[in-house]
Each structure stands twice: as structure tokens, then as C-alpha cells.
């Protein structure tokens, strides 16, 4: 028995006998020039100069308000952009808008006026694949240096070609305007890429007027380590699984592995034994706690200052989680524990000892959380710094495709564990945490309360595992040695990672390696909201907002 939501290969038939694809095709009328079937959703083929019309219609008339991902790829005879649309209210209702463009003139209309998140996604598509987007406000490279030659995920890219990157001082983007006015008061500040408050190698190009941020541009790509290319070079069965651990590397490894496992299992039609699903659920939630702990610690670090008590406390609790995870998987951070069809090994022996360890941790957690609440959330200084700063209204968050604690901190009740349930989540008793303050404080609070919910889930999993009959401990399904999904099957699946919706698009080409492997990183979309939250605000509030977004550059840049 599998508890994965089973999506059959056939288009979902509605009661009337008309499929969802037909319904949407009728809505769009002449805009649709062809149909495709993806495993997760119907695909509508749209002419490249009518993208905005089609997306506006789907957004306003059919309610598809969430542009989850934009996948670009090159075929032998064409380029293709796929817009994966879904709804914040109903995650299982999905549609893929497929926009093919010709080889010699790869120009396609930009979706940026419809969904603001398309801005970065299309820049990435241009950078890595080489599709041009008409109407795009700022189409330049996003991950690679400006001087880069060629588009590395295109088919004819020569990887041995020498590349040159220069390091120039960045010019003040507002300087000219102010020169015209005569007295320039603005100052240009590079924050990062080496800076303690940027949580890794993020570069924030900031223009400040006194203490206020006038203009802000997040420059990413300092950790673009070709994750998609790596995954396209690996075989489905074993060679891809180690990489997800390194996307969101803040101990969220199992959550990321699950994203790949879920996608590939649906692609190859593999059922996961129930027992393995419970282990997965427990491991994933432990990872979520570890991940939120560091978010908490570093946020306090950003807002309070140096390596103070809260950071150390958070690290202390993380160490405990990491020890448990090490017992379970054999690794502190890069677990490589999931396999397609299950997990690699059973719980460590003696099991009682392991359960006791987990229970001890869960028993100590309420007290630890109370400590955090005493020191953080009820602290006046922190409240002064976070309440009412970095405001992100829900409509804006939706337009930018923000998910995870960032969306839930803005009052959007959206959690894939519940809305598009997988694993064992729908069998357990837990709640989705939503705060509607829309500010830095709410996002912090969401994370802290999610730790409690995760603890609840782990508690239930441990109870289940403890009583599981010994002869039914089936940790892996039978999976063929070599997986070769059929040619031209396409699938986009997401899970709730620590930072939000972590999606993967795979197109199979009949071999044992994916033809296209696209990662939809939650941080990538979440980070896009930073200018929205910070422009016009004070610069320390910008740092607080950045901390509350809890980005991981490994996942932003991939």
C-alpha cells in the first residue's frame, strides 16, 4: 500500500467526462495550438507571442494564481519554456503552459507582467538555456558572470571553452540621476558576497539615502555549482540522490531527498512501503527542526549582534537533532538516506535506545522553546526590530511565488504536506501554522511554532514505529536495477521543504538519465521578495528581512 497521492498517467477525468485539460483548453479557445500530457498536469501549447494573454486568462478566469516554476529546455528542433501553474487554494489543480520557440529565433513573450516571479525565472532560463524573453524588464544573466560566453544547458555548449570573468567596481545605478539634480545624497553599498549577514555568498547591491534603502538588487550566482547539470549526468537509481542533500544544505537533506524521491517514484511508478514512509516522515521532520533552529539562531545573530546566547542555544539543540539523524542515517549533514522505493536501511539497533533518544529530545523541546520565547519573541528589543518591519502583503507574496514559512507568515494557508499530501502526513494529526502579521516577526513565529508541529509529527511516528510488527518492517520496494522511464514523459512534483515548495521537473528521454532536470527552489522565489520588503525602509530592517527570509544560497543558486 502506498500513501502517495496516486496520479494516473491518464488525464484526470472529471465527473462530466470532460478532462481538466479540455476544460482549460475551452477557456483559452484559439490561444491553444496544441495539447500535451504531463504526468502531473495537462499541458497547453501556446504561441510564443500570446503567452501573456493565455496566462492572464488562466490567472483571472480559472484562478491559477501560483506560478510555481518556469522550466526552459532545448530540444533538437526547438526551445521550450514551460510555465507550471497551480493554485494556492488547491495545489492539486495544476496546468502546464508549454511555449515552444524556433531554434533560429528563440524569442518568447515574458510572463513578468502576469506573475512577478517570472522575472528571475526567465532570467535564469535566458542565462542557462538561451531563450530570449520579449517585454522582460531586465533580461540579463542571473547566475553566471556577465562576461560568460554561451548557455551551458543548451545542447551545443562546449564546456572546455575558456571563460573570462572580471571583477569591476559596480557603478551606482542611481548616480546619473542624482548628478543631474546637482546634489547627490545617495550612497552605493555592496553588501556581500562576503558578509556575515548575508547567510552565505549573496551580494546585495544597495543604494542608500542616509539610513534608508532607495534601491536594492540581489545579485546571486556566487554558489551556482551546476546542480541541474550534475543531476542530468547521473542515473536515476543511485547517482542523483546524493545531490539533493547539497541544495538546501542546512541539514534539510532528507526533505530535499524526498523531493527527488517523490518525483522519480511517480515518474517510474514505484510504490513505497508504509513502514518506509513513516521513517521518511520522521526523518524529514527532524530535518525541519534542525533547519528552523539554525534559521532562528542566525536570525537572532543578525538582529542582536555577535555569537550570543541564542545562537549557541540553537546550535545546542541542533547538535542533538544531528546526533539522532546521524544514528539514523550514518551522516551528520549529507544523509543520502532515501532510495527510490524506500530508505536505505532500517532504524539503528537497538531500537529502544534510538526511540529513547528521540523521546528525550522531544521531552526537552517544550522547555527549550519556552527559553527561546523568553529570550527572543518576548524580548522588547527584538520586537522593536521585527514587528511591523519587512512587511510582505499576501497578494505580493503570491505574485512572487513565495512559499513555506514566508508565505505562511503572510497569512497564506499553504502547505504541501497537507494540500498535496505525500508520505504519511495525511494519516497524522498536526496543523499548518499560519500567522497573518506579514512582517519579520510573523515569519519568525511561524518557524518556532512549526518546530512544535514537527515535534508532534515525530512523536506520532515514533509511536507507530515502536509498535510496528517485526515481520512487516519493509523498508524498500522492489525497484528495477536500471530505471528507464518512457521517452518524453514529463513530470513536475513538489514537496514542502524547510523553506517552502521544493519542486523538481524531470523529462525522460528513454535512457537511464534524465534529459532535463529542473529544480524549483523555494529560496529562489522567496529571495525575490526582498526589494519589495526593503525599499524605502531602514537598512537594518533590510538585514532583518533578509534574515527572516531564511535563504540558503546553495538552493538559491543551485
Amino acid at each position: 500500500m502506498s500513501l502517495e497521492e496516486q496520479q494516473s498517467d491518464e488525464p484526470a477525468e472529471l465527473e462530466s467526462g470532460v478532462s481538466r485539460g479540455d476544460e482549460l483548453a475551452d477557456l483559452l479557445g484559439d490561444l491553444v495550438v496544441g495539447r500535451e500530457e504531463h504526468m502531473n498536469a495537462p499541458g497547453l501549447v501556446i504561441r510564443p507571442d500570446e503567452v501573456q494573454d493565455a496566462l492572464f486568462k488562466l490567472r483571472d478566469e480559472a484562478g491559477f494564481d501560483h506560478l510555481s516554476c518556469v522550466t526552459a529546455q532545448e530540444y533538437e528542433d526547438r526551445y521550450e519554456s514551460i510555465y507550471h501553474l497551480t493554485k494556492f487554494d488547491d495545489r492539486t489543480d495544476e496546468v502546464s503552459v508549454v511555449v515552444p520557440t524556433s531554434k533560429d529565433n528563440p524569442v518568447s513573450q515574458s510572463a513578468e507582467p502576469v506573475f512577478r516571479t517570472a522575472d528571475w525565472h526567465e532570467r535564469e532560463a535566458y542565462d542557462l538555456v538561451g531563450i530570449q524573453y520579449e517585454d522582460h524588464p531586465d533580461l540579463r544573466r542571473i547566475l553566471l558572470p556577465d562576461t560568460w560566453q554561451g548557455h551551458p544547458l543548451g545542447l551545443d555548449y562546449d564546456q572546455d571553452r575558456p571563460q573570462i570573468a572580471t571583477l569591476r567596481e559596480h557603478a551606482n545605478p542611481l548616480e546619473e540621476d542624482h548628478r543631474a539634480a546637482g546634489d547627490s545624497n545617495t550612497m552605493y553599498i555592496n553588501i556581500g558576497p562576503h558578509h556575515p549577514a548575508t547567510h552565505g555568498v549573496l551580494h546585495v547591491e544597495t543604494v542608500v539615502d542616509g539610513e534608508q534603502v532607495v534601491d536594492l538588487d540581489a545579485d546571486i550566482g556566487y554558489l551556482h555549482r551546476c546542480e541541474e547539470q550534475m543531476c542530468q549526468q547521473g542515473t536515476y537509481r543511485h547517482q542523483i540522490m546524493p545531490y539533493p542533500d547539497r541544495w538546501d544544505y542546512i541539514s534539510a537533506g532528507l526533505l530535499n531527498e524526498w523531493a527527488y524521491a517523490r518525483t522519480a517514484e511517480d515518474l517510474a511508478d514505484i510504490d513505497v512501503p508504509e513502514y518506509a514512509q513513516i521513517i521518511r516522515t520522521m526523518g524529514a521532520e527532524l530535518c525541519r527542526i534542525a533547519s528552523h533552529m539554525i534559521a532562528l539562531g542566525t536570525f537572532a545573530l543578525d538582529v542582536y549582534g555577535d555569537f550570543t546566547a541564542i545562537f549557541m542555544y540553537a546550535m545546542r539543540d541542533r547538535e542533538i537533532v544531528q546526533n539522532i539523524l546521524e544514528d539514523l542515517t550514518g551522516q551528520r549533514m549529507m544523509f543520502n538516506y532515501f532510495r527510490l522505493g524506500g530508505v536505505v536501511w532500517d532504524l539503528p539497533e537497538p531500537r529502544e535506545e534510538f526511540f529513547e533518544k528521540v523521546r528525550d529530545f522531544l521531552d526537552g523541546l517544550p522547555q527549550a522553546l519556552e527559553e527561546y520565547h523568553d529570550m527572543i519573541t518576548s524580548n522588547e528589543i527584538l520586537q522593536a526590530r521585527t514587528v511591523g518591519t519587512g512587511v510582505l502583503p499576501p497578494e505580493v507574496a503570491k505574485s512572487y511565488g513565495a512559499t513555506g514559512p514566508v508565505a505562511r507568515g503572510s497569512g497564506i494557508d499553504y502547505d504541501l504536506r497537507r494540500d498535496d499530501s505525500y508520505g504519511y502526513y495525511d494519516e497524522l494529526d498536526w496543523d499548518v501554522v499560519v500567522e497573518d502579521g506579514c512582517d519579520n516577526f510573523s515569519r519568525l513565529l511561524v518557524r518556532m511554532r512549526e518546530v512544535e508541529e514537527s515535534a508532534k509529527i515525530i512523536q506520532q511516528c515514533v509511536d507507530l514505529l515502536e509498535d510496528w510488527p517485526e515481520d512487516e518492517r519493509n523498508i524498500q520496494a522492489n525497484v528495477p536495477r536500471t530505471l528507464k522511464p518512457e521517452e518524453d514523459t514529463e513530470i513536475y512534483r513538489a514537496v514542502e521543504g524547510a523553506k517552502g515548495e521544493l519542486g523538481i521537473y524531470i523529462r525522460a528521454d528513454g535512457t537511464d538519465k534524465p534529459a532535463r532536470f529542473k529544480i524549483r527552489s523555494p529560496c529562489f522565489s522567496n529571495l525575490q521578495t526582498l526589494p519589495e520588503m526593503s525599499e524605502g525602509e531602514y537598512i537594518p530592517d533590510m538585514i532583518a528581512s533578509l534574515g527572516s527570509l531564511d535563504i540558503v544560497l546553495g538552493e538559491v543558486d543551485r
Binding site: 558572470p145 570573468a165 571583477l167 555568498v201 555549482r225 551546476c226 545546542r316 549533514m333 549529507m334 546553495g554
Partner: protein, 233 residues
């Protein structure tokens, strides 16, 4: 402890005698260390200044607070409680490169970041030391085949200690740093030559229109990184 030696203390200096007596009587345990036993009652240690400076350098290292990728999380754990790198006189992270002695390179270096890392390294005062943490700083690690990944930190800055692992455990990092301290205390200094850095004439690159064009555009004072993937290890 031999009270007969009294090499430097004369009786007509009352204060010194009192001090000596206090030390010998064990009034304060601080004075009765192993070192004191070795040197007798002399308040002086004779050594070479170089040797002394090496000892000082090895015993008080300021780390640059420098996070790149996955390894930086383990690095944070090394700084934080439980592992507490500061126990070994090597754990005060400094946010500014101008105050740091050691840079731990914790993660994958990609083409966009390499010139920045080089600049940060250049900003550190001499003598400076580099600890390469993790497989990525050795060879590019799991991402070695990537189109954008620098195949090891040695391509950009000289590395004193390589710590293998993906990521190395905090214990491994502590061991690596202890080894570095040992090396510094023994007076070994780091090499300062760097392989491919700063403006080159691009003469050894395959002649390519774009390379020529870019080379012509580059200002003499501009800092340039060149990536010749084919020749990388």
C-alpha cells in the same frame, strides 16, 4: 625546584627576593608551573624572537568569518558549543579580513565567486594562512564536472592545510586547525605564489575572436580571473 641556583637574583634587591620567596614557597600556584620548574626561578625565558613570534601566532589565531557553502554549517558547529574551537586558541571569528590571520575556505568555489575570494584573501594582513575545508576546495568535489566550478581552492589562493570530507566533521576541522597551529609554531610559513591570477596576456589560450575582443577591452588595472577548463586538473 632547585633553590641553590639563584642565577639572576641578588640579595640587595629586596623586592626581587620577596617575589622569589613567594614563588618558591608556593604562595601562588600560578608561579609553580612546569615551565617554572624547567627554567628555575628566573623570570626570563631566553629564546629567539622569531621562535617566540611563531609560538604567539600559533597560539592566538583569528579566523575570518567566511561562509561559502555546506561546509560553513559544520564550521559554525565547530565555533559553537560542544566543539568550541576557541578552546584551542583558534576560534574567534572576525568579520573583517583585515583583522584575520586564517581563512577557512568552507565550500565550493565557482567562477563568479573566485575573484571575490581572492580579493578577500588579499585584504588579509601577512602572515596569513589558508585552511581548505572539504572536497570542493581540494578538487571541486562532487561538483568537479560542473561548467562553473573551480577545481579546487589552490587554483585561486595557496592552501596550507586541506581537510577532506563532504563536509568534514567538526572534529576533522579541529584536527586540521591543530595541525596548522603546529606548523605555524614550528616556523613554517605558507607559500605565497599563486597560479593563475591577475592579468595575463591570454597568449596560451586558443585564439578565439571573443577572447581577443575581451582581452582588448580589459583595463590593465582590472582584476581578471581566467578559466581554462580544459587545462584544469
Amino acid at each position: 625546584m632547585s633553590s641553590e641556583q639563584k642565577p639572576f637574583v641578588t640579595d640587595d634587591t629586596q623586592v626581587q627576593t620577596e617575589t622569589r620567596d613567594a614563588r618558591m614557597a608556593g604562595a601562588d600556584d600560578r608561579f609553580n608551573s612546569k615551565l617554572r620548574e624547567a627554567f628555575g626561578s628566573s623570570p626570563f625565558i631566553l629564546t629567539k624572537f622569531d621562535k617566540f613570534m611563531n609560538w604567539v601566532r600559533g597560539s592566538s589565531m583569528f579566523m575570518l568569518q567566511f561562509g561559502i557553502a555546506c561546509c560553513s554549517i559544520e564550521m559554525m558547529h565547530t565555533y559553537a558549543i560542544k566543539h568550541d574551537l576557541d578552546r584551542f586558541a583558534a576560534g574567534v571569528p572576525r568579520a573583517s579580513p583585515r583583522q584575520a590571520d586564517v581563512i577557512i575556505v568552507p565550500g565550493t568555489i565557482v567562477s563568479k565567486f573566485a575573484p571575490r575570494m581572492k580579493r578577500v584573501y588579499d585584504q588579509m594582513p601577512e602572515p596569513k594562512f589558508v585552511v581548505g575545508m572539504g572536497s570542493c576546495t581540494i578538487s571541486g568535489g562532487p561538483f568537479q564536472e560542473g561548467y562553473n566550478v573551480i577545481k579546487g581552492a589552490e587554483e585561486v589562493i595557496p592552501v596550507d592545510i586541506h581537510i577532506p570530507g563532504c563536509p568534514p566533521r567538526p572534529e576533522a576541522l579541529i584536527y586540521g586547525i591543530a595541525k596548522l597551529q603546529e606548523r605555524i609554531a614550528n616556523g613554517e610559513s605558507s607559500p605565497v605564489t599563486v597560479k593563475p591570477y591577475e592579468l595575463e596576456q591570454f597568449g596560451d589560450l586558443e585564439s578565439d575572436e571573443i577572447v581577443d575582443k575581451l582581452a582588448a577591452q580589459i583595463d590593465e588595472d582590472d582584476l581578471v580571473m581566467r578559466y581554462n577548463w580544459a587545462d584544469s586538473p
